[in-house]
Amino acid sequence: MKNKAFLVAGSLAAALWSSTALAEGITLRALMEDVPETKIIEDMLPDFEAKTGIKVEFEKVGYGDMHDKLVAQLVSGESYYNLLSVDFLWAGEFPAGGWLEDLNPYVAKSGFDMAPVIPSMLDLLGRTDTALPIMPMYNYSMGMIYRTDLIADPALAAKYEAATGKKLAAPTTLDDYVAMAKFFKADGGVNGAAMQGQKGDPNSMEFSNYLFSAGGDYLDANRKVVLDSDQGRQALTLYNDMIKNAAQTGALSATLDDTLRLMCAGESFSMVTYWWMLPQLDNAEKCPKVAGKVAISVMPGGHGESGGWGWGIPKNIPGDQKDAAWQFIEWVQSKDVSVKRALQGHAPVRSDVFSDPAVLAKYPFYAQAGEIVASGKSFPVFTYSPQYEDVLGTQISLSASGDTPVDAAIKASAKGLEDLLAK
């Protein structure tokens, strides 16, 4: 009885196993995040297949798991994934490991026009004088989303003016922003800011906005660590102030998911986040409480954190698969396909898409988005960027919960960066 069941199960297993064998022709396989961007491209894949006969399969995994799975494939042997989607935080690590093909020869051979690709995106993704390891795919730079209805509320405006002597308007400096956020939490009946304070990527990304807008930076033009500065300390002090007096309860364990839901529920005045969160919030079906009442601006102070994803071709695959991968990259990043993607809501990396009339007609806020991308600065991109996010994130978390004073936290963060750069 047991044997029969085993036999049936065994043949089932064998059938499933053999069906995963490679199909005829080339199939491009990529690990992708499960985000709207991926869906937009996926919907267009049949066009690509019809044009080139190359099949493309997207396997969707979460961000952290994606990194670990990819690294295992790239370290040795032949990578199962022959088309790579690479986050900017890995744009130091992957080239350092020698895992990515230089795309310059491919660009030259097929005459791909690199001029419209936004330079800050190229730099973000590891372009050097000698190599182009990653072709930008989409960007996720950060700005401030805020509630226009709360700003326009006359009662609140009166209270604010009485308390501070200033008019209630979208903040343009960091100090204004902090004061306004604290006001809203104290007197406005909403949280001042939905903050993603969980240690690691969430708080490192958010803090970077404060740092850049306070006039500070991680590295100077010579890649020397300049985090330990008055601006750095000011940024952390303001950040801690926000966490304590303007942010939601539990901010120190909050991630993007939490802040998005909070903002969507109408329980926060503002949120420093990736700019394409705006369409998610300004959506009558998903967020009825705030649809039509939100807008985005550059991070008060003028500089937000840049981010983005790009395409790469692994070195450890056969040549014909590399060519197929390039064909895909060329197609998906062409102006034509990029505009089509943008019309679906994708976040462009080409300046000609940001200024395309059809795109601007459909999404007027892309004008602000264009500014955000152009003015964005970057978290240090090098081999150990993810580890630095952990180091920095720990210090910020310790400081925000009062366990470490600002000075010590900034010093430790700066030293951590120096140590990792030297590693």
Partner: protein, 266 residues
Amino acid sequence: MLRRAISHIGLIIACLSVLLPILWVFRTSLVPEHASYSTDIFPELTLENYRLLFGDKNFGTNYANSLIVATLSVVLSMPFAAMTGYAFARFRTGGRIARFATLASQMLPPVALALPVFMLYRAAGLTNSLTGLTLIYAAINLPFLTWILMGFFESIPEDLEGAAMTDGATRWGAFWRIVLPVAAPGILASAVLGFILSWNEFLFALILGGSKTATVPVALAALQTSNGVQISQVSAGVSLAILPLLIAVHFIQKYLVQGLSFGSVK
């Protein structure tokens, strides 16, 4: 009488602490994503989450994969576990070293084994296959199941087999026909446990598998997107994921919970 009442009360409290979160999960599976955190019990009823899971996300395949791999890995490892557990219990085979070495293989955090297993399996052609996954799960189950069965065999007095053997049975015969039936509760508990261990395993399924061989835990983990957690779909997935255990427990519980009237129940 009083003891029974107190037991009922205690069990009800325990059941509520288990059931309430699970019921809330089930409720969330029937609510659209944007209303998932609403405090109303049913802000909107929908089957959208289940439809999305099975339609867009291929959950049906994941579920089938999990079922196949979990079942086969138990079927594969149980005989070995029973025999080795018996040897450890009866004959102290290999002494303390063998016992602890067996268990020690499980003391290493799986993350340290991820890369070695991946490289070895890739060389053997076992990646992206349910066969490979079944094999590694059987190997993961083996130490725990061996130890659990060892414990059960130790509680069975050796006289039972002794009597059978003086009557002419071989050691194997005594094992098969006398010891195993008496150890039935332990065997059933181990089978359920082995199934659960494989059903819930995540890291190896992630590293060794591809999109066609993804299991339920991998599918659920992928619902943590950079756009937020699709908690309603996660809830739907979890509601479905507990079904096999529910069914298994229903069938075996009479072997596990019955026959406990040793004079303490009056």
